[in-house]
Symmetry: C2
Subunit: 457 residues, 2 copies
C-alpha cells in the first residue's frame, strides 16, 4: 500500500469522527461582521488551534490582529519536498432564523447526508478538509509527502481587513511553493471545479438625505423630494436598457473575451433551466450579448445588497423619510481596480443626484479580481488529484464570487494560488439554510490527500 | 361677566393644572400600530374616561371595538340649544429614540414653553383642549351654552379601522348639529387655520420577489434580476419627468382648480424660503405648473413611506436579496376614490414589472378626501371664535394631510365637519421631536370656549 493509499484508507475509516468534529466547529457562531460575536470568532480560532495541535501540527498559534485573529500551524518535516500553504477562513456570514432558516443556523442538522448550518460550505467545511488530509498522513505514515502550512483567518466575510498587513509582515513564515484555497463551488458533484478566476469587489453605501428630520407625508408630501423616491430614481439609472452598467467608464479596464475564451466558457455554461430550478426565478437576467457563464465569470456587475428608508415595520406609518440608504456592490473582473470603480460610481451618483436632495457614496470594502493560468504544473497536479481522489475530472471554472486574498497572496507571497472547490454553487452560502454534502466533505478529504501526494512527484 | 367670559377667566387661572394633566396623558405610549402597545392604548382610553368623569361629563364609556376602544362622554343639559360633537384621537404614531428623538418621546419635556412628546400636537394636545373648554363652563356656570358630545378614538393613526362601523351602529348616540375636529395645523401662531379640505389616502405595499431565497451576490449577481434593483426601477417609473404621477388615469377624477380657487390658495401659499427653513431641504420639489400650496392641498401625490430589502445592518453582507418591499401612499383630493387609485396603481405596477421577477400590490389602508364650503354658518361661527378667543382671524386652508373620519362623519352622521386647527405644521407630527406650543394649547382652550358660545347665538 502506498503512503497515499494508506492515508486515504485511514481517512475513510475515521469519517464519522471528522463529521462530529466539523459539527462542533459549526456550532460556534463566528460572525465576523457583528461586533457582539467577537468572542465567538475567537472561540472558533481557539477550537481550530486545538484541533491542529491534536493532529500533530506544530508552531500552532492564534495570532491577534486589530480585528479577529489568524490561526497558523505547520508540519515541515519533509526536507527537500515542496511546501503547500493552505488558506481558509473560519468566520461566517450573519445568520438568524428570521432570515428564513428552517433550523437553527448554529445547530447542525443532518438530513439525507447533507448538513445544514451557517458556514458548513463557506468555509468551515471546505477548510476543515485540509486539516483532516494532513491528519491522515500523520496518523498513518508518521509524515506527509510535502511540507504543509496553514493560514486560517477570521475576517474573510468582512473583506480580510487585516490579512494584507499580516502577509506583508510574515513573508518568511508563510513562504511556500503553492497556495491552495478551497472556498468555491461547482454546479454538480460529478463535475468538480478548479476556479481559474475570481471577481473583485467594490462594496459601497449610497446615502440620500432630504429634509433634516422625518416629516408627516401629508404635511409635506408633494412639495419635498422624498429621499426614498430619489434613491430609487438614482438606482434606476445605474443600468442601461440592455442591463449593462450605466456608470461611465465602468467597462474601460475589462479584459475582453477572445473567441477561444468564449469557447472554453461554453463548457461550463449555465442553462436557463438549471438557473430557474436552483433559484425559482421566473427567468434569467443580465447583460445582453453574453451567456450566463460569461455574465457571471467574465463580466462585472452592479448589485443592490440592501436598501432601507422610512417605516418598514408593521402597519402604515405616513412618514416622509429624512433619508434613504442602499448597499451597492460591484463585482469586478480582470483588470478592473476597486478604488477606480468606487470613484466612477461616486462621481456618477453625484452627477445624477437631483438638486432637491443631497447624496454621498462611501466605500466599505474592496477586493481585486484575479485570473490564473490553467496550464501551470500546480494546476495540473490539482487536476490529477481530482481525477484520482474525487473520482471525476474537474472543469476549469470562472467563478462569480470574490476571494480578494487570491490576489493578495499572488502579489505579496509570490506563489500561484490553486482554488480547489469542494462545495456546490447551490449550497446556499450567505443565505438561509446553508448546507454542505457530507459525501463531498469526504471526497474532498480524499482529493486533498491526493493533491499533497501529487505535489511530491 | 358673561358666561363665556367667566369660563375663559377660569381656564386662564387653571392653565398649569391643564398642562400637568396633558403631560400625564402624553406619558402613555398609546401607539396603535404596534400590537405590543395594545395595553397602553387601553390605558390612555381609561385615563381620558376618568378625566371626562372628573370634569362632570356624563354617560362616559370606554367602548370596546375589534381593535382599540372608543371613548364616549356627553353633557346634554342645554335643552333647545344646538349639540356639538367633538371628535379627536388619543392614539399616536410609533416613536423610538433611534428615530432621531433628542429626549424620550413618552416623557414630556418643556423648553421655551413648548412641550416635546409624541402625540403632543397630533392629537392628544389638540383633543384635550375641548375637554378643558367644557370643564371651564361646568366649573363656572354649572353648564355649557350648548350640548356637547365627545367621540374620541384610538385608531386614527391606523386609518380608523373600526370607526365607520361604530358610526353606523350609533347614529342616535352621536346625533348632533355640527362636528368639530382639531387635528390640523397652521404655518404661524398669529395666522390660525380652519381647514376646508383634507386629502384622502390609499396606503399600499409593493412586494417584489426574485429568487426563492437570498442568494450569494457573487454566485448569482449578474444572471438573476436583483429584486431591490427591480423595485427601484418600478418606483422610478411612478413619476414623469415633470414630477406628475405616471400611473395612467391617476388624475381622472381630480376636481380641477378654477381661477378663483387659485387666487384663494395664493393667500396661504408656502414660500420657498419658509419650506427650506422648516425642513432644511436644498430646494422644493413637486408637480410642475402648480404652486407649493396647490401641490400640497389641491393635487394628489404618490409617496414612498418606507423601503426595505436585503442587508441593512452593520458592515457589508454580499447578499442578493430574495425580495424587496416598499410602502407607498397616495394622498388624494376630491373627488378621487381610494379603491380606484389602488386598482390603478396595482395594474400599473403589474404592467411595468419585468418578466424576471414577480410583484404584488396590497392595499393596507384607505381614506376619502373631503372639501367643505367655508360659507356655512358653523364655519362662520368658528371664524368668529378664533377672532375673539385666539385673538387672530383665521385663514381657510386646504390641508395636505388626511383625516378620513371627516368624510365618514359627513356621510354617515349627516352633519358638517369644522376642522379648527390648533397646531402648527412644523410641530413634527409623525417624526422625531414632535412638539406643541403651550401658548397655542391655552389659546386653543380660549377659542374652543368661544366656539361653544358662538354656537349658542
Amino acid at each position: 500500500m502506498t503512503v497515499v493509499d494508506a492515508a486515504r484508507a485511514w481517512a475513510r475509516e475515521n469519517g464519522s469522527t471528522f463529521e462530529n468534529q466539523l459539527f462542533d466547529l459549526l456550532r460556534i457562531p463566528s460572525i465576523s461582521a457583528e461586533s457582539q460575536h467577537k468572542g465567538d470568532v475567537l472561540a472558533a480560532a481557539e477550537w481550530i488551534a486545538a484541533n491542529l495541535k491534536a493532529i500533530g501540527a506544530e508552531h500552532v498559534q492564534v495570532i491577534a490582529t486589530p480585528g479577529h485573529p489568524i490561526v497558523y500551524g505547520d508540519w515541515l518535516h519533509a526536507p527537500g519536498a515542496k511546501t503547500v500553504l493552505i488558506y481558509g477562513h473560519y468566520d461566517v456570514q450573519p445568520a438568524q432564523m428570521s432570515d428564513g432558516w428552517h433550523t437553527d443556523p448554529f445547530e447542525p442538522v443532518v438530513k439525507d447526508n447533507i448538513v445544514y448550518a451557517r458556514g458548513s460550505s463557506d468555509d468551515k467545511g471546505q477548510m476543515f478538509i485540509h486539516i483532516k488530509a494532513l491528519e491522515a498522513y500523520l496518523k498513518t505514515n508518521g509524515g506527509a509527502p510535502v511540507n504543509v502550512k496553514f493560514l486560517l483567518e477570521g475576517e474573510e466575510e468582512i473583506s480580510s481587513k487585516n490579512l494584507m498587513a499580516f502577509l506583508q509582515a510574515n513573508q518568511e513564515l508563510l513562504a511556500a511553493d503553492v497556495c491552495v484555497i478551497s472556498d468555491s463551488g461547482s454546479f454538480a458533484i460529478e463535475s468538480p471545479a478548479i476556479v481559474t478566476s475570481v471577481r473583485g469587489i467594490s462594496y459601497m453605501e449610497i446615502h440620500v438625505q432630504g429634509p433634516a428630520t422625518d416629516l408627516h407625508s401629508g404635511g409635506y408630501g408633494g412639495i419635498v423630494h422624498n429621499p426614498a423616491l430619489a434613491l430609487a430614481q438614482i438606482i434606476a439609472k445605474m443600468h442601461n436598457a440592455d442591463n449593462s452598467v450605466a456608470v461611465p467608464g465602468f467597462y474601460d479596464d475589462v479584459v475582453q473575451l477572445t473567441p477561444a475564451d468564449r469557447d472554453n466558457l461554453m463548457k461550463t455554461d449555465i442553462s436557463e433551466a438549471a438557473l430557474k430550478g436552483d433559484t425559482q426565478v421566473p427567468q434569467s437576467w443580465g447583460e445582453a450579448g453574453y451567456t450566463l457563464r460569461e455574465r457571471l465569470g467574465a463580466r462585472p456587475t452592479l448589485e443592490i445588497n440592501g436598501i432601507l428608508s422610512g417605516w418598514t415595520g408593521e402597519g402604515s406609518k405616513t412618514v416622509l423619510p429624512a433619508k434613504a440608504m442602499a448597499k451597492v456592490s460591484c463585482r469586478l473582473v480582470a483588470n478592473q481596480h476597486p478604488e477606480r470603480i468606487y470613484e466612477l460610481v461616486r462621481d456618477y451618483v453625484a452627477s445624477i443626484t437631483p438638486p432637491t436632495v443631497t447624496s454621498r457614496v462611501v466605500l466599505l470594502n474592496k477586493g481585486e479580481p484575479a485570473l490564473i493560468d490553467p496550464n501551470i504544473p500546480e494546476m495540473q497536479a490539482a487536476f490529477r488529484a481530482y481525477a484520482s481522489g474525487w473520482g471525476s475530472e474537474p472543469v476549469f471554472l470562472r467563478e462569480g464570487g470574490s476571494i480578494p486574498i487570491v490576489v493578495d497572496i499572488q502579489r505579496v507571497l509570490g506563489m500561484p494560488v490553486i482554488m480547489m472547490g469542494y462545495g456546490l454553487n447551490n449550497d446556499g452560502a450567505h443565505g438561509p439554510d446553508e448546507h454542505y454534502s457530507l459525501e463531498m466533505f469526504h471526497r474532498g478529504i480524499q482529493t486533498a490527500i491526493c493533491f499533497l501526494g501529487e505535489m511530491a512527484t
